[in-house]
Structures are given as C-alpha cells and as structure tokens.
C-alpha cells in the first residue's frame, strides 16, 4: 500500500496523530478498537450470481462471485475450486497503475482467500459435479474503486457477503439453481501499529504513518483461521496476542451488524 505518497502528511501532522493516539483518540473520533461503520449492498451486480458493494470509510469495493463448471485440480479431484482475484483499479488512487496485479494486490487477494478457504466457509466437497471430471469453480473477483485504507477487511466483508447471497444457475450441470454450501462466516480484522498504539481498521492516513500491520481472520467459534503480518515494522508476541483477542471481539460485532 502507498505510504505517504500524497506528501500530504507532514511530520507535524504525524506528531499530532501520535499525541492524539496517546490519549486514545483517533482523527475521526473513533476509539482504538472501533471499526468504521460500513455500508454493504448485496446483489449489487445483477449479472453475477452473488455480489456486494462495500463502503468502509471512503474505501469502496465491489465483490462479484461467478460460478462456472470446469475441471478440478489433479491433486484434489473431489473438490470444487475457489479462486480470489483483487484488482487495485487505477481509478482508486493516484499512484495505482493499470496492469496485472502487483504484489500489494496479490497480498490482499491471498489474505482474503486464506480467511475464506481455511475457515472452510464453502464446502468444496459439495461442489463436485462428476468426480475428477467436472466441478464448480467459484471465482471471487473484487474491484477496488476508491482507496481509503484497510482493503483486506473491506474485501473480506464483500467476498463473504457475496458468497452468502449467491444463487447459482445450475443448468450447466443439468441442475436447479442452488445456493452455495456455506458453513460459517469468516471475518478478518486488521490492525496497525502507530508508535506504541495499535488501532483497528486503519484509514488511509493511519496506514501511511503506521509501522506494521496484522490481520487476523476468525470464525464465529472464536478460532483463528488465517493471519498475516505486513510492513517493515514488528510486533511483540504480547501485541499479537492482544490483536487476536481484539479480532475475535470485533469480528463478532461485524458478523452481528453486517452478516446476519
């Protein structure tokens, strides 16, 4: 993610944010553990069996789920296929460039994918049409339209909402329309470290001055399904443990508010 590329954050501003954080205050009035309020519209794109528009702060993404019949991977002949792609569209930020996904886009996509895959949210065994021959391939594609920090959580919310609402046309396998076999509801919660403070759901300014990032994806049973530390800084083990517990708590709130 871009770090202060706009040059808008002077050292003075950084100092101000840090002083505020020491008193537990953030630029937009949130507490350190508070997620921004999000807006989620499902079925946003009619041509996709599942879709969701997510606005998290001014971060705006559209997630679309397509389901097509195809070949399984040779080493998993009895499973459907799940694939996640994130496009950091050049419209979303002045320095984003057109072209194949760069390392930032790939990281976001892979962390979103891991949260969904490792929670076993989708029962891939139930997506076999003909063993070793034909399975359902679930494509999760995410367009990032506007960038205001915390892409991983915005994209995970969008992907999970789109998967939960998807109704697949079964005719390619001679079947009726069906809902995806959803077993649980993974949620990712991302935190960054600024000075000695750790804040949830960073906005763009906070991301630009943070030293390190940690994402924890959990399921409703309070279990950890995926983690990713990012950026050039570090965490202590205690900070990580605290982040896990925050993630479980905030995850519950998000599920309650947006994914019922």
């Amino acid at each position: 993610m871009p770090r202060d590329e706009l040059g808008i954050l002077s050292e003075i501003k950084k100092g101000y944010i840090l002083r505020q954080l020491k008193e537990g205050k953030r630029g937009d009035g949130r507490t350190p553990d508070q997620f921004r309020s999000a807006e989620i519209k499902i079925d946003y794109v009619k041509r996709a069996p599942g879709s969701a528009y997510v606005e998290l702060g001014k971060t705006r993404i559209v997630a679309g789920v397509k389901v097509e019949a195809g070949s399984p991977f040779p080493d998993t002949p009895n499973q459907g296929v799940l694939t996640t792609n994130v496009e950091l569209l050049p419209m979303a930020f002045p320095t984003f460039e057109a072209g194949p996904p760069n390392e930032s886009a790939i990281e976001v996509a892979r962390v979103v994918d891991r949260g969904i895959r490792e929670s076993k949210m989708i029962d891939l065994e139930a997506l076999v049409i003909e063993p070793a021959q034909k399975v359902w391939i679930v494509f999760i594609d995410i367009d990032v339209l506007d960038f205001d920090g915390n892409l991983i959580d915005a994209c995970t919310l969008g992907a999970v909402a789109a998967l939960r609402s998807a109704v697949v046309n079964g005719s390619a396998a001679g079947k009726e329309d069906f809902r995806l076999p959803v077993r649980n509801t993974p949620v990712s919660v991302t935190m960054v470290k600024i000075g000695d403070n750790i804040v949830v759901d960073p906005d763009l300014e906070e991301e630009q001055i943070s030293q390190a990032r940690i994402t924890v994806s959990t399921t409703e049973d309070g279990r950890i399904r995926a983690m990713q530390k990012g950026d050039n800084g570090w965490f202590t083990l205690d900070e990580i443990k605290k982040a896990i517990s925050t993630s479980i708590d905030v995850g519950k709130q998000l599920r309650e508010k947006y994914l019922k």
Binding site: V45, R47, S51, G64, M91, A92, A98, D141
Partner: protein, 245 residues
C-alpha cells in the same frame, strides 16, 4: 452483429421486448462526484448498465517522451469487471477494450480544451460493473460528467447514444437482446451544442436510408441525454425515459 434467432424482438404493435417504442430510451441516471480519491468522478446507470468513471489530471504526462508540447494527452481506459458479463471475463485488456479505449480517448480529446495543458495527461478510467449493451456510449456519456466534475475545461459535453436495426426496423438505444440478435449497431457521440460527431462506429447491415433514420433518432435523443448530464452536475439526479406505453 449476432446470429439470427427465433425470438420476435418487436411485437405487432411496434413495441419492443421491454415495452419501449422504436424511439424510446432506457432509463438513465447519472450521479457526479461518487468517489473520494479521483479528481472527478461519475456513476451512470443506463438500462442495466452500471458504470463508474474516475478522472485524474491534468497531471504531468509520463513517461516524458510521450508528452505533447502543445496539448494534453487524453487517455481513456475502458475496462470490464470480471463479473460484469454473463460469462466471467478474464481480467486485463483484450483487443475489443483496447479499440474502445482508443475511440473514447479520441472523442474526449475533441471536447476537452487540451491546448490549455501542454505536456499534461488526463486519465479517464471507465469501469463497467454491469454490462447491458451500449457500454461504450454510456461510459463516454458519464466520462464528460466526470471530467466536468474534475473542473477540467471543455468546449462542450460529449453525449452519446446508439441506434440499430432489429427485426428489420430501426430503433434507438439497443437492449442486450436487441444487440445480440439484431442486424446493425450504430454507436454515435456528439458535442451536443453543435452536433459535431466525435465518435461513430457501425457494424451490421444498413441501407443509406436506414442510416439516415438511425442518425435522426440519435440526434433527436441527444438533448434529452445531455439534460441528464447537466442535471447530474447541478447535483440533482433525474430519471429519464423508461417504458414505452
């Protein structure tokens, strides 16, 4: 144009599958200023099309050897989201989107006062979230709203519309089914004040007379569409057209 079909696209009363008459537009809704980071932006819903446009610039053209010392370069990038069409579209440009990006860039160059910004580049990113026939024209129509939203001076709006031939009859603003099974498609964009044509493509089969009918219909519709553009900039939203009863 597409293959023949057994579907009757126009009924005995001259009405189309969605109830429109030959000269009716689908509903159009444009909203300006929908994005935070872009210098200008707009969202258009036109029939089932849902397209977002973002404008960045004028900013220094890069790489430098691409700079034009006399004027700004306008670079439109038309892109379809993977989920925007029935069969998943592989991400990245294909030959169709590269050609469309070229003709949209040229059409916008004719409207923008490019001579005011030597060595600069104006980027217009057009993302089709949901496609439903006429995406290039809808994207172009939204683009000039987004450019105005960015405060970039233009001689005029760029306002587009398509006409086509369906069941042997010339009609305005093809729907998806009409595009798939029709006999001709004619997207046109003009500077609405002067009627100057800045984009025109055609494929299919038209007689000279049919071409004249089609362009009349388009020229007739342009002021209505341009009004929606203007209203979007006055930060109002208006729904136009829709239904043909």
């Amino acid at each position: 144009m597409g293959t023949q079909s057994d579907i009757k696209l126009i009924d005995e009363n001259g009405l189309r599958l969605d109830g429109r008459s030959a000269g009716d537009l689908r509903p159009i809704r444009i909203e300006a200023g929908v994005l935070e980071r872009a210098d200008g932006s707009a969202m258009i819903e036109w029939g089932g099309n849902k397209i977002v446009v973002a404008v960045y610039g004028p900013r220094e053209a890069y790489p430098k050897h691409n700079q034009d010392i006399n004027r700004a370069i306008v670079k439109a990038r038309y892109n379809m989201a993977a989920f925007s069409v029935d069969e998943r579209k592989r991400p990245g440009p294909d030959r169709r989107s590269i050609e469309i990006s070229k003709v949209l860039s040229e059409a916008l160059s004719a409207a923008i006062m490019v001579e005011q910004f030597p060595r600069a580049q104006i980027d217009v990113f057009i993302e089709v979230l949901q496609a439903d026939a006429g995406t290039r024209i809808a994207g172009l129509t939204a683009s000039s709203v987004a450019i105005a939203d960015a405060g970039i001076p233009m001689r005029d709006f760029v306002t587009g519309c398509t006409a086509g031939k369906v069941d042997g009859k010339v009609v305005l603003d093809l729907s998806k089914e009409e595009d798939n099974f029709g006999q001709a498609d004619l997207p046109v964009a003009v500077l609405p004040k002067s009627g100057k044509i800045v984009l025109m493509q055609m494929d299919g089969d038209l007689s000279v007379e049919e071409f004249d009918t089609a362009t009349s219909m388009i020229m007739n519709a342009i002021p209505r569409i341009n009004e929606i553009q203007r209203n979007a900039l006055s930060s109002r939203v208006k729904v136009e057209g829709g239904g043909g009863e």
